[in-house]
């Protein structure tokens, strides 16, 4: 995408982000719906070949670990794409040129220079996808794949042992820590600052002939499977069941939207604070603290929700007691069971998204920029505002987008922490879906998708404008 020009590229650049907006459980449903025994594909096969039953032929089991892998990959690849692409765009083209001057072909240069330099960003993308997969429950349950997360719920709900569940959850977390540690260790020596100086934009080379179409098709494939297919199927269903309570639907949409906006802003503000704090203090302790703060992402949402219930409850009761004692005015539960608790929980969960994205982006700004700004009389706050924020704007938008879309899709936390009589699009999808009527939830599901597209489009604007600048 950054190196070559080919047909439809300007469209594909952002269209590739679209699957991000698709909740994995919806994609899982749609894909199985089409591919399972009773689905369109197998039905057609049976009709064509005249097979009678499942025993007459072999067809890959959709509800399998491979199926789950395929679905999750389709939904999660945009994380890596988004971050890697930003990294490639921001890269100093000179290094790539240098490599070619030293006699390495484009491919070699890519693997030896461009890729290692983009590694922090790619690792962040992969880590996010990994954590997301680790905590993923809906899809794996749908595909009947036994994972650690499924184990947590089994232990918790069926064996009623929350503490054992917590132990497994801890295992998940330590696994994530291990991954992060490995990554950090492997690049202990190199600092990946963008060296300053003239940095002409990497010029994209036009692809011609067959190559161009192959590239175009390759890019279209995930978009079709990961986005167009679910949207198509859902639209089809939505059309059939348009009479679903519109009023409630609008209320849910509003709830979802406002929560997502608040969560996105709060989370990114927190993430920025952490990332900038780490940069300013330069201490590894600060970094560890920040890293720890992001582990919430590796936990299944429900576990996290239950986890924060207790401190929230404690806090609420403490405030309540104080108020009662001092002013004889019971406050009740200030946070628990209000939108506030939800936004807080979302932030805890998604801070990894914002922190990692922003940290990777900040780490590419040479410290000399900070120095220059301070010498010119700016304190760190102004420096952040005038220097860093504009420089990391694409990443900041990326982070906001990620959190927004993920909050829109979020389910388990919402379910547990929401106040009385409170619905969001995703709980509505789930209500209906758990009634085994996903068809009727398709309007809500479709809205989640569409709401995801808006920020994607904003982002794409930004991508193209930043392209014209660098």
């Amino acid at each position: 995408m950054t190196r070559f020009n080919f047909p439809l590229k300007s469209l594909l650049v952002w269209a590739l982000l679209l699957p991000l907006a698709v909740p994995s459980y919806i994609l899982a449903f749609v894909i199985t719906d089409q591919l399972e025994y009773a689905g369109f594909v197998q039905k057609s096969l049976r009709a064509i070949f005249g097979w009678q039953t499942a025993r007459d032929y072999w067809f890959p089991e959709i509800r399998s670990i491979q199926g789950a892998i395929a679905v999750l990959s389709l939904v999660l690849y945009p994380y890596v794409y988004l971050l890697a692409r930003a990294a490639f765009v921001e890269q100093a083209a000179q290094l790539f040129e240098m490599s070619r001057c030293l006699g390495k072909s484009q491919t070699q240069s890519f693997f030896k220079v461009a890729l290692p330099l983009a590694r922090p960003a790619i690792v962040v993308g992969v880590t996010l996808a990994l954590m997301e997969t680790i905590n993923e429950y809906g899809t794996v349950e749908f595909f009947a794949v036994p994972t650690l997360t499924a184990g947590i719920f089994d232990v918790w709900l069926n064996m009623s042992s929350l503490s054992a569940a917590a132990q497994i959850a801890l295992m998940l977390v330590s696994f994530s820590i291990l991954l992060l540690g490995l990554e950090r260790y492997s690049r202990h020596a190199g600092k990946f600052y963008k060296l300053t100086g003239q940095s002409p934009a990497m010029f994209a080379e036009p692809l011609t002939g067959v190559k161009a179409y192959v590239a175009c098709l390759l890019c279209l494939l995930p978009i079709c499977l990961g986005f167009l297919l679910p949207v198509g199927v859902l639209s089809h269903y939505a059309f059939r069941s348009l009479d679903a309570g519109l009023e409630q639907y609008l209320a849910s949409a509003w709830n979802s939207f406002s929560l997502a906006v608040m969560a996105a802003l709060l989370t990114c503000a927190l993430g920025l604070l952490l990332a900038y704090g780490v940069r300013l203090s330069k201490s590894s302790q600060m970094r560890s603290i920040a890293e720890a703060a992001t582990l919430g992402y590796a936990l299944p949402g429900a576990v996290l929700a239950v986890g924060i219930l207790y401190p929230l409850g404690l806090f609420d009761n403490w405030v309540d007691q104080l108020m009662q004692a001092w002013f004889a005015y019971p406050t009740g539960l200030l946070l628990t069971g209000t939108g506030g608790a939800l936004v807080l929980a979302y932030s805890l969960r998604f801070i990894a998204l914002s922190y990692r994205t922003l940290d990777a982006s900040l780490s590419k700004i040479t410290p000399e920029m900070d120095d220059a700004s301070r010498i010119l009389g700016s304190r760190s706050g102004k420096t952040l505002w005038r220097i860093h924020l504009p420089l990391i704007r694409p990443s900041l938008l990326t982070a906001i987008l990620l959190v927004f879309v993920d909050t829109m899709k979020e389910l388990p936390i919402t379910l547990i922490l929401r106040p009385f009589n409170f619905n969001t699009l995703s709980t509505q999808v789930w209500e209906l879906a758990s009634l085994e009527q996903l068809e009727q939830s398709s309007l809500a599901a479709l809205t989640i998708l569409l709401a995801g597209i808006i920020p994607v489009i904003i982002m794409s604007r930004n991508i193209s404008s930043s392209q014209s600048r660098t």
Binding site: A54, S64, L162, N317, S434
Partner: protein, 320 residues
């Protein structure tokens, strides 16, 4: 105004007609939070400030969990005591069943002869090899079923049985109960383990008419009906009053309403569950599925075996 706050493990849309009717009758507003998990923890965490008054569940497991956590208060209501049979409520009246739900066998009307399948044990018979469908063994409904086998026959027998069932599966456990009906209709399997009320839901589904076809293809088989037999396994949906309830009176009113004729009628006709109240007119189609003798084993005992059941499912590799 008057209100009552409800934590519900039961879907909102099922609850809505009931609460609407309650509000219409009493003027008391009903506020609901619906979730599949975590409500017990939410109650615990909030402590004395817990805003909820009642908790509603769709299986005995959750209900027992809340009770075991000491969150429930006894209710001394002549109405409830009279309507709910004693084996369907907690000995100390800490919880009450509102409906029972039979977990039956769906059999293909053509490929399975009447009387061919009689008992739970038959499911392990090799003659069903490659013909059984079910949802995940870890789902609460199946856990309830397996727990009841353990409670009745002990773990060893249950294990042999479950291995037998596993060997007969037509496909990896997946989907929900409705999906099993579809699988039978599509010919992927011949019998399936599922809750009976889904038959009604499919039969009356006008939005997806294909589901009516599924239902029509299926005969419901009740198990262990022979004299002296164990009886058909049932689970319950139930409710309990939280000991931190602020609107205790309203909550009890709602409980009494839910076992009243209106509500029980709604349960029976809208959701096709079996009412706990006697003499409720049931739906015609459900009626046509016949009646059965229910297993009268103590639900509390069953609930106690749930952890064992979950471990058994793992041991047998039922879901793999």
């Amino acid at each position: 105004g008057e209100e009552v706050n409800l934590y519900s493990y039961r879907q909102q849309s099922l609850l809505q007609p009931l609460t609407d009717a309650f509000t219409a009758e009493t003027g008391i507003k009903v506020n609901v939070v619906h979730a599949e998990k975590g409500l017990a923890e939410k109650i615990k965490a909030a402590g004395a400030n817990n805003p909820a008054d009642l908790v509603l569940t769709v299986d005995i497991g959750r209900l027992e969990e809340v009770r075991a956590a000491g969150l429930l208060a006894p209710v001394n209501s002549p109405v409830l005591n009279e309507v709910v049979p004693s084996h369907l409520r907690h000995p100390d009246n800490l919880w009450f069943a509102l409906t029972t739900r039979a977990r039956v066998i769906y059999a293909d009307k053509d490929r399975v002869k009447e009387g061919e399948l009689k008992s739970l044990n038959d499911l392990a018979d090799p003659k069903w090899k490659g013909r059984i469908c079910t949802r995940s063994g870890k789902h609460v409904y199946n856990i309830g079923l397996i727990a009841s086998v353990i409670a009745e026959d002990g773990e060893a027998v249950a294990e042999t049985w479950l291995r037998g069932v596993k060997a007969n599966l037509a496909r990896k456990p997946q989907g929900n109960d409705r999906a099993q009906a579809k699988a039978i209709f599509e010919g992927q399997c011949d019998i399936a383990i599922a809750n009976r009320y889904y038959m009604g839901k499919m039969f009356y589904n006008t939005k997806s008419p294909e589901q009516q076809q599924w239902a029509e293809q299926i005969r419901v088989v009740y198990l262990d009906q022979q004299v002296g037999g164990r009886g058909q396994h049932i689970n319950i949906s139930g409710a309990g009053l939280l000991n931190t309830a602020k609107n205790k009176d309203n909550a009890i009113k709602l409980l009494e309403f839910l076992v009243g004729e209106t509500a029980q009628g709604l349960y029976a006709t809208a959701n096709f569950e079996e009412p706990v109240r006697e003499g409720i007119e049931t739906d015609e189609f459900i009626e046509s599925l016949g009646s059965f003798k229910a297993d009268r084993i103590s639900l509390q005992e069953v609930a106690e075996q749930r952890a064992a059941a979950a471990r058994l499912v793992d041991r047998v590799g039922f879901d793999l």
